[in-house]
C-alpha cells in the first residue's frame, strides 16, 4: 500500500509478545472471541444450554425411576379357627402385606381396594377360599402368590427346585433412553438458536452490513460460529453425559471417541440447518417462527422423550430421515448398545447429507445485508 500512513509492520522475529500480537490481530481469533463473549454475556443462553437440560434430566430421571417389587396387600378373615395358621404362612413371604379383618370390615376393605384379595380360611383345616376380582391383574397375581405361600406353609414340597436371580439392567431404564435424546435435542437447539438469533440480530441491526464494508472474510465470519460451537459442544456433551453417568449410572458402552464424533458431526450438521434458518430472515421474530417450525416436529417425531417407534409404520421411513432421529438413534446405539462406528454408518450418512445440503443451500440464499 504505497504512501499509506501508519507504523511499518514488524516482520521476522517470533518473540512471545509478537506471537501474542499476531494472535490478537488474527481476525479468525477475534471473530471467535466475539462469539464466546456474546454467548457468555447472555445469562439466559447459558441457562438454556447447560443448566436446563440437566434439570430436565434430573426431574424426569427421578420421576420415572424404578422402584423395588410392589407390595401385595392381602386381607385375612379371622372369624374361622384356621386363620392363625394361614397368617403365619403368609408372613413368610415378604412381598405380602397381611391385615386381619372381621367379616364386615373384610368386605369393605376389598370393596374399597385396600386389599387386592381376601383369604377366607375354611372351617376344615385343609381348605381355604380366595375372594377377588378376576378382572384385575394385581388380584390374579395376588392369588398366585398367596396360594403358593399357603401351600408351602401347609407342607407342599415343590417338584422342581427353582432359584431367582434379580437384575436391574442399566440401559433399559427411562433415564438411559432419555439422556441420549436430550443430548441430541440440545445439540440441535444450541446450533439452531445459537446461529439463528445471533446472525439475524446482526442483520437486523445492520451490523452484518457494517462488517461487509470491512475486508472481513465471509467464510471466516461463518466459520467463527462453527469454532465457538465446537468448544461449547464439548462442554455440553461433558456436562449432560457426565451428569447422566455419575448421577444415574447411564451406561457409556461405546467408544467415547465415536460418541464425540457423532456429536461433532451433529453439531456441524445442525449448524448448517441453523445457517439455513438464518439465511434470509430480517427480524428475530421471523427467525423464531422459522426455528420453531423446523424444530417442533423433530422434538415430537425424532424420539427425544419417547420412542419414535410409537408412530405408524407408514411414516417411519420419513422419521428415519430426519436429522434429529439419526442423531438420537446413533447416540443411543453408541451409549446403550456399544455399537461400532461401522454399524452407525446409515445414521452418520443421514447426518452428513443434511449438513452438506443445508450448508450449501444457506450459502446460496444468505442475505449479507
Amino acid at each position: 500500500m504505497g504512501g499509506r500512513a501508519g507504523a511499518p509492520r514488524a516482520s521476522g522475529g517470533t518473540t512471545g509478545r509478537e506471537r501474542g500480537d499476531r494472535f490478537k490481530r488474527s481476525s479468525m481469533v477475534q471473530l471467535t472471541l466475539v462469539r464466546f463473549r456474546e454467548f457468555i454475556r447472555e445469562p439466559e443462553a447459558v441457562f438454556w444450554t447447560f443448566i436446563f437440560p440437566i434439570l430436565l434430566a434430573a426431574g424426569l430421571g427421578i420421576a420415572f425411576r424404578q422402584r423395588g417389587p410392589d407390595k401385595v396387600l392381602i386381607g385375612v378373615v379371622t372369624s374361622s379357627p384356621g386363620s392363625a395358621a394361614v397368617i403365619q404362612s403368609l408372613a413368610k413371604d415378604s412381598t405380602l402385606v397381611v391385615t386381619a379383618y372381621d367379616d364386615s370390615a373384610a368386605a369393605r376393605a376389598l370393596r374399597t381396594g385396600k386389599v387386592a384379595l381376601l383369604v377366607v380360611p375354611g372351617s376344615a383345616k385343609d381348605s381355604v377360599r380366595y375372594v377377588y376380582d378376576r378382572g384385575r391383574s394385581e388380584a390374579v397375581n395376588a392369588r398366585l402368590m398367596v396360594d403358593r405361600a399357603v401351600q408351602i406353609g401347609a407342607g407342599r414340597v415343590d417338584a422342581v427346585r427353582a432359584t431367582d436371580t434379580y437384575v436391574t439392567e442399566a440401559g433399559s431404564r427411562y433415564i438411559d433412553f432419555l439422556i441420549p435424546g436430550l443430548l441430541g435435542m440440545n445439540l440441535m437447539g444450541s446450533s439452531i438458536w445459537g446461529l439463528g438469533f445471533s446472525i439475524v440480530t446482526a442483520r437486523s441491526k445492520k451490523l452484518l452490513k457494517r462488517l461487509m464494508a470491512t475486508p472481513m472474510s465471509r467464510a471466516q465470519y461463518l466459520l467463527s460460529y462453527l469454532c465457538s460451537r465446537l468448544v461449547f459442544l464439548i462442554l455440553e456433551v461433558v456436562t449432560l453425559v457426565g451428569f447422566g453417568h455419575w448421577a444415574f449410572g447411564v451406561p457409556l458402552r461405546g467408544s467415547l471417541a465415536t460418541l464425540f464424533l457423532i456429536c461433532l458431526l451433529a453439531a456441524i450438521s445442525f449448524g448448517g440447518l441453523g445457517l439455513l434458518t438464518a439465511s434470509r430472515a430480517k427480524t428475530t421474530e421471523a427467525v423464531s417462527g422459522i426455528m420453531n417450525f423446523i424444530m417442533l416436529p423433530m422434538w415430537i417425531f425424532s424420539g427425544v422423550f419417547f420412542s419414535s417407534a410409537n408412530f405408524p409404520h407408514t411414516v417411519q421411513p420419513v422419521i428415519k430421515l430426519l436429522p434429529l432421529t439419526a442423531v438420537n438413534d446413533a447416540l443411543r446405539a453408541n451409549m446403550l448398545e456399544g455399537a461400532s462406528l461401522a454399524a452407525l454408518s446409515p445414521q452418520l450418512l443421514v447426518i452428513v447429507v443434511w449438513g452438506v445440503v443445508t450448508f450449501f443451500a444457506a450459502l446460496k440464499l444468505f442475505r449479507w445485508r
Partner: protein, 260 residues
C-alpha cells in the same frame, strides 16, 4: 495505484448513477467528482438519495446503471483492495451491545492489514474513559463516536461519514470537526453528509446539494452562498450581512427539512 497527495486525481468519480427501489427512484443520474485530499459534503433533504449514493460508493449496494470509480479502482475488480482503503460509518448501524469499546475496535482492527493502534483511536475520538465499558451502556453520542472510531481504525485513505455529527453535543461535534480536519491535513479524503449547514460551511472544501436523486448545485460553500438570489428568501428576520449556506439550501430545495 493512487498516491494520496496527488491532488489532480479524483478520489471518487461517479457518473450517471441510477438506483431505483420498488416504489421510488432513489438516485437518478447523479454525477460527482471528489478530489484527493478534499473534504466533500453531500447535502440535501431527507430522502434525497444521499445515503443510497454513499452506499453505492462504499460497495454495499449495486447501482442499476452508471459508473463508480473509487481511488482509481472499481468494485467489480478490486473489492478487496478497496475495503482495505475505505473507512466507513453508516447512518444506522448498531454495534454489538455485549462487547466493550476496546473489544469492538480490536475486532475491526483485526480485519485490516495496516491498522491503527486501538488505544490511539479511542483517544482520538475521546472515549478513553469508556474503553472497557460495554457498548450497550454508551450514550447515543458516544456510540456515534465509536462508529467513527471503527471507520478510522483501518487507517483508511478515504473516509465516508453518513451524518457523523447527528446526535452529538456541541463539544463532541467540535471534537469530531477537529478530527476530520486532522485526517484531511494528512492528505486524505473525506466524503460526508450532514443536515447542519454551519458544519458544511466550516468543514467542507466543496459541497453538492442533492435533491430527488441528482445534484442540483455544486461548488465551494462560498460560491454557492454568493449565487443566492436574496429576493427569493423568506421574509427577513434580523439578518447577518450575508447569506448563509442555510439560505442556499432553503432557496434551492424550498424547505429546511423535507420528508418524503
Amino acid at each position: 495505484m493512487v498516491t494520496p497527495f496527488d491532488n489532480s486525481a479524483p478520489a471518487l468519480r461517479v457518473e450517471g448513477l441510477r438506483k431505483a427501489y420498488d416504489d421510488v427512484v432513489a438516485v437518478d443520474g447523479l454525477n460527482l467528482q471528489v478530489l484527493t485530499g478534499e473534504c466533500f459534503g453531500l447535502l440535501g433533504p431527507n430522502g434525497a438519495g444521499k445515503t443510497t449514493t454513499i452506499e453505492i460508493c462504499e460497495g454495499l449496494l449495486t447501482a442499476d446503471s452508471g459508473s463508480v470509480e473509487v481511488l482509481g479502482r472499481h468494485w467489480e475488480s478490486d473489492a478487496r483492495d478497496l475495503r482495505e482503503l475505505l473507512g466507513i460509518q453508516l447512518q444506522d448501524t448498531q454495534l454489538s451491545e455485549k462487547l466493550t469499546v476496546d473489544e469492538t475496535l480490536t475486532l475491526f482492527q483485526s480485519f485490516y492489514r495496516d491498522a491503527r493502534d486501538v488505544g490511539e483511536v479511542i483517544d482520538h475520538v475521546d472515549l478513553s474513559e469508556k474503553r472497557y465499558s460495554r457498548v450497550g451502556g454508551l450514550s447515543g453520542g458516544q456510540k456515534q463516536r465509536l462508529a467513527v472510531a471503527c471507520a478510522l481504525v483501518g487507517n483508511p485513505q478515504l473516509l465516508f461519514l453518513d451524518e457523523p455529527t447527528t446526535g452529538l453535543d456541541p463539544v463532541s461535534r467540535r471534537q469530531l470537526w477537529e478530527l476530520i480536519s486532522q485526517f484531511q491535513a494528512e492528505g486524505r479524503t473525506i466524503v460526508l453528509t450532514t443536515h447542519y449547514m454551519e458544519e458544511a460551511e466550516r468543514l467542507c472544501d466543496r459541497v453538492a446539494i442533492v435533491d430527488h436523486g441528482h445534484v442540483i448545485a455544486l461548488g465551494t460553500p462560498q460560491e454557492l452562498i454568493d449565487a443566492v438570489d436574496v429576493s427569493h428568501l423568506p421574509p427577513p428576520e434580523p439578518r447577518k450581512t450575508s447569506a448563509t449556506l442555510e439560505d442556499v439550501f432553503v432557496s434551492l430545495t424550498g424547505r429546511t427539512l423535507r420528508d418524503e
